[in-house]
Amino acid sequence: MDVITQAITFVFQWQNLAALLAGTTYGIIIGVLPGLGPSAGMALTLPLVLKWHPATALIFMGSLYKCSNYGGSLTAILVNTPGDASNAATILDGYPMCEKGKGGVALGISATAAMVGGTIGMICLIFSAPFLANFALRFGPAEYFLTAILALSIIAAVVQGATIKGLIAAGLGLMLSTVGFDVITGHLRYTFGWEPIEDGIPLIQALVGLFAVTQALVLAESAESISRIGKLAGGFWEGVITYFKYLYAIIRAAAIGLFIGVLPAVGQSSAGLLAWAEAKRESKHPETFGNGEPEGVISSETATNACMPGDLVCTIALGIPGSVGAAIFLGVMIIFGVIPGPLVFKEKADIIYSLFVALTLTSFILFLVGMTVARHLAVVTLLPNEIIVPVILIVSLLGSFAIRNLMADVMLSLGFGVIGYIMLKGGFTPVPLLLGLVLGEMVETNYHRALMISGGSYFIFFSSTISKVLIFLTLLSFVGPYLGPVWKKLTEGEK
């Protein structure tokens, strides 16, 4: 309890409150821009906060990560354009509400959902994370190696829906993580004499390239502005009152969000859609869903907001990201020396609990923002691409440059931008690549450590119960996507 009190005191220091507010505002703006989700937002700002205190920087990043989802729901409701995949379910009923002249009500629901869903999720996270951490103490090098492989395989299988493509991208990330000095032998690998990559491919530059530069290039292809803005009508407070009329729907959606969040790689988009589908299934008037039913917005938004803290549970306690945003956040934590795992709750308790407290506080700030300025922020979507693209490019490339003051880093980011763009055009997602790059060193180091402990015997990877479970889950993630259709065929055959 002491540690939570200290964390509260720490968060209320002016610089941390300022970071929290900045992260909240920036997160909402990023969320409002379709396509620029939390991943690109964190990539864009990471270089700017590198010299901050780790806790302050993580508070900024955490609130940005959390609030971008809310920003995305604004455009989903107002202009039928989700800011990120996680807001996809919100457009189903949010935009029809707007068409009916109840845009203000929908915005009220969305802001209340951000507060309630986020708070429920954060409270569960604060109390469950240490238990998960204690469990994780049983992990040795072999288990860590297998956990990272599991994370990669699940991300590869789920993020895109095409397992092999995901695995190829993850392989590419792991391969690129071997560039530079080998941490075990000190041997220089694959640098071709180029100094800037001797310490390995720099994560931030790669991240900036894969997400921000790629996004800028995609936007540059289109002549239009990001979006058109609709008229706002209806009252914000009417939305707040409507929200609390559906208590059962709120609890059900929060439970779905938390459960989905804890599952590695399933993510907020699945949580929102599942909660919406479940609300429709249980409704007495399912035909109203998709036509501006407030319960639809309540379910999807509450689940999405409760999912984010669930994402963080696995990310912090086990080092397994629960979503794309969490994967980036994992990278951010590592950059700031907060290595996810069981020991982080003891060694970095101050930072972790400060982050938790800050994120809980963010839920309330989001509500206040929604009440006052949110509807005006949606104007950003009116800006033409020729203005947005250079801003994205300059902010991201400047960040990439400012870390080591090297123009070579700008080239590196542009190179990764090309890779990301080609991957997108080729039907790949760069997320497994980034995760491979983030986890690569951990995978290789634990692989060698495990073999050293066992005297070179590969049996160590199958010896403990945890290892066996992890191997089973990894295999399941490989074959899982194919089991569904096979099962369907079998049952159809029986009929």
């Binding site: 092999i164 792991l174 080998d182 041997h187 020729e386 203005i387 400047l398 542009l414 080609i422 692989y447």
Partner: protein, 170 residues
């Protein structure tokens, strides 16, 4: 006819990307051969695994795309194709234009410092993608944004934005 079909398949970015990956992973496997045992073990393992995955993916692509093409062979989609080609052409043109601006600005940045990259990217996009009649307004915005970046990064954070091959004003 068969060679035409093969050409059509090879046009796809996805196939090309996979072929490049095949070479990339193969090359990384070969380059690791002279490394010490512990240094080459992991990269070679990853390379072999990834090579297998790329090969499976390519085989699946060629077999599946053939089947899909056969299935829709009798559908007349000429209009759609023309429309799609026009959109693709416009997108490609804009993409190359964007890259030209980015690369030229970066090259200028190498010579005079990152601040020049900032200015030329800010002026380049509105000039080549926006309305040229707003030239003076665009120039004003570019200068203003460059100044803001200079003040906040060079003055406050000490990032050397005017350090290039030609001079060093850090």
């Amino acid at each position: 006819m068969e060679s035409l079909k093969m050409k059509e398949k090879l046009k796809l970015t996805e196939v090309w990307f996979k072929l490049v990956l095949l070479v990339f992973f193969g090359l990384f496997f070969l380059l690791a051969i002279p490394y010490p045992e512990k240094s080459k073990q992991f990269p070679q393992l990853i390379a072999i695994f990834s090579l297998i995955m790329v090969a499976i993916s390519l085989i699946t692509d060629f077999t599946r795309k053939g089947k899909v093409a056969e299935g829709i062979a009798d559908v007349d989609d000429t209009e759609l194709k023309v429309l799609d080609m026009t959109t693709q052409k416009t997108k490609r043109k804009r993409f190359y234009k964007a890259w030209t601006i980015i690369l030229l600005s970066t090259a200028i940045g190498f010579l005079g410092g990152f601040l020049f990259t900032t200015f030329f990217i800010f002026i380049g996009f509105p000039l080549f993608f926006g309305r040229r009649e707003k030239l003076s307004k665009n120039i004003f915005i570019a200068v203003l944004m460059t100044m803001i970046i200079y003040l906040s990064f060079q003055w406050i954070m000490g990032v050397p934005l005017l350090t290039g091959i030609f001079w060093d004003f850090s």
